[in-house]
């Protein structure tokens, strides 16, 4: 399986966000934040920072825990 570039993927998704996520601001915010973060890291020629991983960890953990608790 080939692997998608994260930036290309998120760019591909962005045009659909306003249309797709009317009233779904949380998911829109997630995609927007992920796009911005990865683009910035790549543009600066660096990896994901500790602060960015911390936010990512919190985001994914909260969703995981909420699904398991539902």
């Amino acid at each position: 399986m080939e692997f998608a570039s994260v930036i290309a993927l998120l760019k591909a998704l962005q045009p659909y966000v306003p249309l797709a996520l009317m009233g779904f601001s949380k998911a829109k915010a997630i995609v927007d934040w992920g796009t911005t973060t990865v683009q910035k890291a790549v543009a600066e020629g660096r990896g994901i920072s500790n602060d960015e991983w911390r936010e990512w960890n919190q985001l994914t953990r909260e969703i995981h825990e909420a699904i398991q608790a539902s």
């Binding site: 998911a27 992920g34 796009t35």
Partner: protein, 133 residues
Amino acid sequence: MKTIILAAALALGLSGCALFEGETAEHDVFGVGIAYAAVGTAALEYTTLPRCSDTQPAPCSEQAAVDHIKNLDNVAYNALKAAQQAAMADSTSLAAQRAAANAFAAVLAMEQALLGFGVIEEPIAETAAEESV
């Protein structure tokens, strides 16, 4: 339910054909995590509905479907964390790339379940991904 369909479809771009190499496994894992979060958000919209019963009309969620989604969520989340560890250890290693691909596959499996249960209806973002290249 419309928002569920549309929001989850965002992450379905991961299953599209517009694939090319990411910068490093670290960036890829980060992106897979974002997709997981988007799919998970859609899944949550379904799993937090009241369970269907004789006295609970639609919109409601089927217990069997919720159980299946929870199992797939566990697999995806664990694969994601394993991929994160591998990428942070050596983002250029084959092991990190494989772990990222495993996590990617697990997120796709979660999406497929949402499609199968009718939580989402079509992978519209797949088209978006194809058109973007």
